[in-house]
C-alpha cells in the first residue's frame, strides 16, 4: 500500500490544526472605542441606520429571562435587522463576567443592567461606562440618574416576603420579619443567595442594618431552603416546594400572580428593601450605535410600560401606569441602601452569610 495514503489523514489533521490556530488568532481584533458625542441624544434616522448596519446588540442583563426576551422582541419588531442577544444571569455573575472580560481587554457587552448599585459605581470608577443620556431621560426624576450621565435607574425592585395561600393559613400570615423566627416557619421558607443575586445582596445589607446580624444568625436555624437567583423563590412558592419566601423579587411574584398562582405579597412592618436596578452602555461596546438605540428603547415609556404590564417590573418613569393594583413605592415603608457603604462590606456580608446559612 502506498505510504502517502496512510499518512495523509494524520498530516492533513496536523495541517488543519495549524491552520485553525492561525485563523483563531487572527479572528478577533480589539474593537476600538466608539467616538460618540456626549449630551442628550434622540432616536434619529441616522442612529437607526448606523445601528441597523451594526446588526447586533449584546445585552448583559439580570432581568428575569422571560421579561428580558419579551423586551428584546419588542425592540426587534421595531427595528428589524437588529438582533438582541440576551445574556441573562444573576447580577453578581453579570458583574463578574464584565469584570473578567474588561480586565482581560475583551469587549463583548454593549448594554448591561444589574440590580446592585455597587456595580455601577465600580464600573464608572474603572472608566468602563460610556456617557449616554437618551432624550427620554428628561422625564425621569433627578435622583434616578447618574449626574455625570453614565448610568440610570432602569427599574425599581423590591425584595419582599411572599407566600403561597394554599400553604399558609389566614391566621398564620406574618406581618413582619420578626415573626419569621417563630419555630412554625422552620423548614417552610425559601430565600435567594447574596453571592449570586444583587437584589439579595442589597436586601441582606439593608436588613442587617435594620435588624442586626443576630437576626440572621437565628434565621439560619430555621432550615431555610437556599436558592440562587432572587427570581427563583416566587417560582418555588408556585411549585409548592416551600410556603413562604423570605426574600425574592416582587416583580416575579407579581408575574406569578398574573399567571394565576395564589401568591400573596407582604410589605413587612420593619420595611421592604428597595433595590435600584441601573443600566448603562459599556465604554467599549462593540456595537455603539445599536447600544444607544437599544438603551434609548429600554428607558422609553413604551418599554417601561411593557415590562410593567407583562413582567410586573416597577418603573421610575412618571407616565408608566402600574396596572397590577399593588401599593405604589410612596405607600411602602422602604429600606434604602447606601451603595458606598455596601461596596466596602461585600466580603463581610458573604462571610457572615456562609457562617449562618452554610453556603
Amino acid at each position: 500500500m502506498p505510504k502517502t495514503k496512510l499518512i495523509a489523514p494524520f498530516s492533513k489533521m496536523a495541517f488543519c490544526c495549524a491552520l485553525l490556530f492561525v485563523t483563531a488568532c487572527g479572528e478577533q481584533a480589539i474593537v476600538p472605542q466608539a467616538q460618540v458625542e456626549s449630551g442628550p441624544y434622540g432616536v434619529t434616522p441616522e442612529l437607526i441606520e448606523a445601528a441597523t448596519a451594526e446588526g447586533i446588540v449584546s445585552y448583559y442583563s439580570s432581568l428575569d429571562l422571560v421579561v428580558a426576551e419579551r423586551m428584546a422582541a419588542a425592540f426587534e419588531e421595531q427595528h428589524p435587522g437588529i438582533d438582541v442577544r440576551v445574556e441573562r444571569a444573576g447580577s453578581e455573575r453579570v458583574f463578574q463576567r464584565i469584570g473578567q472580560e474588561y480586565s482581560s481587554g475583551i469587549y463583548n457587552a454593549d448594554v448591561t443592567d444589574t440590580s446592585d448599585e455597587v456595580h455601577f459605581a465600580y464600573f464608572k470608577d474603572q472608566g468602563w461606562l460610556a456617557n449616554a443620556t437618551p432624550a427620554e431621560f428628561v422625564n425621569y426624576p433627578a435622583e434616578t440618574k447618574d449626574p455625570d450621565g453614565y448610568f440610570a435607574a432602569f427599574r425599581a425592585d423590591l425584595s419582599v416576603i411572599a407566600y403561597n395561600e394554599q400553604l399558609v393559613s389566614a391566621d398564620e400570615v406574618p406581618t413582619s420579619f420578626a415573626e419569621l423566627l417563630d419555630p412554625k416557619w422552620k423548614g417552610r421558607m425559601v430565600k435567594g443567595h447574596p453571592g449570586y443575586s444583587g437584589t439579595i445582596m442589597t436586601a441582606t445589607y439593608a436588613l442587617s442594618e435594620a435588624l442586626g446580624w443576630d437576626y440572621f444568625a437565628q434565621l439560619g436555624q430555621q432550615e431555610v431552603m437556599q436558592v440562587q437567583s432572587s427570581t427563583d423563590p416566587p417560582k418555588k412558592l408556585a411549585l409548592g416546594e416551600r410556603a413562604l419566601q423570605f426574600d425574592g423579587n416582587e416583580y416575579v411574584a407579581v408575574q406569578q400572580q398574573m399567571a394565576g398562582v395564589p401568591l400573596k405579597i407582604i410589605y413587612a412592618a420593619e420595611g421592604t428593601p428597595l433595590v435600584v436596578g441601573n443600566a448603562a452602555i459599556l465604554a467599549n461596546a462593540p456595537h455603539p450605535n445599536a447600544a444607544r438605540l437599544f438603551y434609548a428603547f429600554m428607558f422609553s415609556q413604551e418599554a417601561q410600560q411593557l415590562n410593567s404590564d407583562t413582567g410586573g417590573v416597577r418603573s421610575f418613569h412618571p407616565s408608566v401606569v402600574d396596572r397590577s393594583g399593588r401599593p405604589s413605592l410612596s405607600e411602602i415603608n422602604l429600606l434604602r441602601s447606601n451603595p458606598e457603604d455596601l461596596g466596602t462590606r461585600l466580603q463581610e456580608i458573604k462571610q457572615r452569610y456562609e457562617e449562618y446559612f452554610g453556603t
Binding site: 483563531a24 478577533q28 449584546s58 419579551r70 469584570g99 427563583d232 418555588k236 416546594e241 461585600l346
Partner: protein
Amino acid sequence: MTSKLAELFLNRRFRFDISRPIFVLLALLLAILVVFPLFWLTYYAFFDNDGNATLANFVALISDPTVHRAFGIAILMALGVGALATVVATPMAWLVARTDVPGRGVIRVLVLASFVTPPFLGAIAWEILAAPNSGILNDLYRWITGSDGALLNIYTFQGLIFAIACYTFPYVFTLVANALDRIPSDLEDASSILGAGWSTTLRRVTFPLVLPAMLAGSLIALLQALTLFGSPAILALPAGFHVITTKIWSYFQFPPQLGLAAASAIPLLLITILLLRSQKWILGRKGYTVLAGKGTVARTTLLGKMKWPALGLVGFVLCLTVIFPYAALMKAAFTRNISEPLNFSSLTLQNFNFVFFEFSATRLAMWNTFLLGILSATAVTTLVVIISYVVIRRSFAGSSVLGTLATTPIAIPGIVLGVGLFLSYANPTFMLYGTLWILLIAFVTLGLPSGYQQMSSAMTSVHSDLEDASRIFGASRLKTLWLITTPLLRTSIVATWCFIFIATIRELSATILLTTSNTKLVSVIIYDLNESGNLGAISVLGIMLLMVSFTIVFIANKVPLMSSNRLNLRS
C-alpha cells in the same frame, strides 16, 4: 520470498519514518494543553498579585473551617458515588455481557441514555421528582399512604450522592461490560473443566480479569463526582452545604479570589495523584493481556429461573436513572406548572414556544454544542490512540511522560481549568475568549484523561505480537498503528469517541466561565435557566439535547469508522 523480504528491509532502511516528528509534535501539543493552565494555577496559588512567592493562600485555606468542611463533604461524596456506582454497575454489566437476561439490547441502550444525560439535567429532574414538598414521587407517596411527610428528600447529602451516581455508573458499566466482552472464555472453560463451580470461576477467573476495568471505572466515577460542579450547585446549595467545587466557584464571586481558588485546587490534584497511584498498586504487575492473535467467543451463563428477578433489578435501576427522570422532564415540558395534575386542560406547548421562538439563545447554543461535541470527540480520540500506543508499547524513551500528561487533567476540576484557560488564552496574545476555540481546548483537555484511561486499558489487552509482525515486515510505527492496532481496537475507539462526545455535552464547570453570548452552550443555558427556576424551558431543552445526542451516538456506532473489512478478530 527471500528476495521480497530483503527488498522490504532495504526499503525500510532508506525511508524516512514520519512517525517520529508526528509523535514529537503531539507531545508538544499535549504539553501545551496540560502544562499551560497548570502553570497558571500554580502561579496563582503560590504568588501574590505583586509576583512575590507566598503561602498566604494556603494559610487562609487551612485556617478556614468552612473549607475543611467542603473538602470533607466532597471526599465522602466522591467515595459514596464511586462505591455506589461500582456496586450497581458491575453486576449489571455482567448480566448484560455474560448472561441470557432478557432485553440485553434495550438495557444497553437505556444505560447509554443515562450516560448521555448530563448530571445537572438529571439533578434537575430529580428535583422535580424528589423535592420534599413538591416532588412527584413524594406527592405519590402522600397520596398512597395518606401521610403528610416526605419519603425522599433530594436536597441532602445522600440525595446528592444518589443523583450523581445515577449518571456516573455508566462509566463503570461500559468499561466492565467491554472488558467482559473481550475476555476469552477459554480461561473460564479451563476453570470449569478443572472442576470449579459457577461461582468459583466467577470469583477466581472472571472477576480478576475485569478488575482493571472495574477499578478504572470506579476511579473515573469517583473523580467525576469529586470535580463535578453542576449537581452540587443544584442540590447542595438548597441543602445548605458546600463541596470543593461550589466553594471554588464562590471564590470567583466579586471580588474574585483567584489565589484561594487556585490553592484549593492543589489538594484536589494531590488526592487524584494518590488515587491513581493506589490503582497502580492494586493492579500490581499482573499481566492482563487477553486479546492476542487468537479468536475467542465469550461464554454465556444461563440464568434459568433467576432471569426475571435479575431483569427486575436492572429495570429498577434504569427506572431511577432514566425512565422516571425523563417522565418528570416530559411532564414539566408539557405543563405550565409542574405541580399541576396532568390532564388535557393543563397540557400546553407554551414551553416549546418559548424555547424555540422567544428564547434568543436556543438555536445558536444547540449548534455550538453539537459542533464542539463532534470536534472534541474526534480530536481527543485521535490523540489518545496515538498516546496510548506510544506509552503502552514504550515506543520512545520517556514515552510514559505522555501518559502522565494525558492523565493529569483529571485532577483539575473543570471550574479551575476554566480559570486556568481563561488566564492562559483570554489575553491580547491569544484572544481566544469569545470564540469556540477556547471551549474546544477546554473540552479536549478535559476529555484526555478518560479517553486515555479507556484507550490504554483497551490497548493493554491487545498483545503486541501482531504489531511486532507488522514491524518486522517493515511497516513504520504509524503504519502499524493505523493498519493493525486501530482495527483491532475498533470497538474501543468508537466507544471512546462516544465517551468524549457525551462528556463534552455534559460539561458545565469549565464551560460556565468560558462561554459568552456568542458561544453559548446548551449546558450553560440549562444551568442559567435553573438558577432562575424556569423548569419548563429546561425540560424542553433537556429532552431535545438527549434526542440529538442519542442520534449522534447511534450514528457513530453504525458508521464503519475504519476498515471494518480488514482484520477484525472479534467477529
